[in-house]
Subunit: 310 residues, 2 copies
């Protein structure tokens, strides 16, 4: 984590330009910290297959830049005011600078892949980017056709694109740079898929149960916009048709209390955490098909996905 | 042009996914047509140095995808309703889908450079992207500090980043793929710089003098937002201090008549067109330092920048 943060700091210091406020806006959220999950996955996957982590370190910066760009957009789409304990970029700098800041981060990330990576890596980044846009679009559209689309099947499909794709690409970037075998890459891919779903479910739970003081970001967004959210979907699937319609009607009118009650009554939070734990377990089981020297670190990273409060 | 359009059509047909409306939004403006200036520059620069244009054809699609993404954002920032004779993406599909559509186009473009290009090309694309964001930010910020920043010096600096960088990258992509010498790349770079400035000045003139019926896009945006616009800056530089202040005050209150009068009285349109012609001339003169087999086509392309009405 220190390695990654030092590399990010080095990049930010070395890459500032005109106008300064654009760079302030672009670096605002990266400077505020973050879990650096994608970066850690890149480093650990590289190490797992016997690669040198220094070789892949610059690419972790590219991953954080692109990830941050996607957060800037997410916050714009959700009209959220807080992220990582600070104001969101569009709130602090306005929509126009937020748009340009996100593009700047993507352009820098692309440049870094060109500088330190290969065209093969680039294809994975590009493909993951397409998946992320598709997943986000599925999520955003939920708000328009709430009823049909709030199903667990659609949820998993959405999450695989919006969250898993980039997490999977991260392990691929690490294991490819470290020259891992196909079997190793495959195993790390399975690990990434389970870990990614667990990560998203935990995120969804926190959106319902936590507060801005704890998470550092706006909460209850998923309810306000009727986005795909695991506890919400579980709750809606385990109640009567009438109750479901009543809740969705209330949500579409901006009232979230009915949904919060339903989630509480149906035990949807506990069910969600249980499912997330199963996914973490699957991630760890997948690892056992290979002997990675840093297996315990990979397991720890999987566990941390559920232990986090932000 | 036919080659390019056929290649674009092939890409759009082969690359559609879920949800369909995201792809509709992403392809909306590309399907509406366009000048394909960057693509033509890539092809002609490749041909100029003796390269095979088939090799660079897929990259022209990447350039159009990325260029279209930047137009989607421009239209969002200017709140413009029309482009290429059709509604803008955010107007037709809403802000959220417009954001995702632009990202999708960038991700596809990045993937294509990974598939058909080199990491060297990618660095040029990334660096041009950074320049574009900087130029756009300088332009957007003009609206906040109208007085100091509306100078010809700042104008040229802004245009070099927001417009010239990508046009220059286009000739570089073409001449690098075609394995041109450094001297050839240098000459094509000078050609691109002059052509790019002429292109932008012509765009600025049309924003003032033309209509949506003719250009297919919203006009007078530069005045409504006090963006960097060549005739406006020339007019403001050739009047009294009092008149300048009066006009800028009126513009910041949303009234554009004073500026239109000033532009007419000072002959700023004619001055702008004369300057644009000088730049086209410089572009053609630059070409004479090399003997390109398709020199007349490159000259024709430079001329077309001023002859266009849209």
């Amino acid at each position: 984590m220190n390695l990654i943060n030092r590399e990010i700091d080095r990049h930010l210091l070395a890459n500032s330009g005109e106008p300064p406020i654009l760079y302030e806006a672009a670096y605002h959220l990266i400077r505020a910290g973050g879990k650096r999950l994608r970066s850690l996955l890149i480093l650990l996957s590289c190490e797992a297959v016997g690669g040198k982590i220094e070789e892949v370190l610059p690419i972790t910066v590219a991953a954080e830049l692109i990830q941050t760009a996607s957060l800037i957009r997410d916050d714009m789409m959700d009209c959220d005011d807080y992220r990582r304990g600070v104001e969101t970029v569009h709130k602090k700098y306005g929509n126009n600078l937020a748009l340009l800041a996100a593009d700047l981060l993507i352009a820098q990330g692309v440049w870094m892949v060109g500088q330190y990576g290969t065209t093969e890596l680039l294809r994975h980044v590009g493909a993951a980017g397409v998946d992320m846009c598709e997943g986000e679009a599925l999520d955003v559209l939920t708000e328009k056709k709430a009823d049909e689309d709030l199903s667990l099947e659609r949820y998993i499909d959405t999450v695989k694109r919006k969250t898993v794709a980039f997490i999977d690409a991260s392990t691929k970037i690490g294991s490819m740079t470290g020259k891992g075998t196909e079997a190793q890459q495959e195993v790390l891919g399975q690990y990434a898929e389970s870990l990614g779903i667990a990560f998203q479910i935990r995120d969804d739970v926190m959106d319902i149960t936590s507060s801005r003081e704890v998470t550092g970001k706006s909460v209850r967004s998923d309810l306000r916009w009727i986005r795909s959210n695991y506890p919400l979907i579980v709750a809606l699937e385990s109640c009567s048709r009438e109750r479901r319609t009543e809740c969705l009607d209330a949500l579409s009118k901006g009232s979230i209390d009915c949904a919060l009650d339903l989630i509480r009554e149906t035990g949807a939070i506990e069910a969600a955490m249980k499912t997330a734990e199963d996914y973490v377990q699957s991630a760890k089981v997948a690892l056992q098909r290979e002997r990675f020297p840093n297996q315990s670190l990979l397991e720890e990273l999987a566990d941390s996905v559920l232990q986090r409060d932000y």
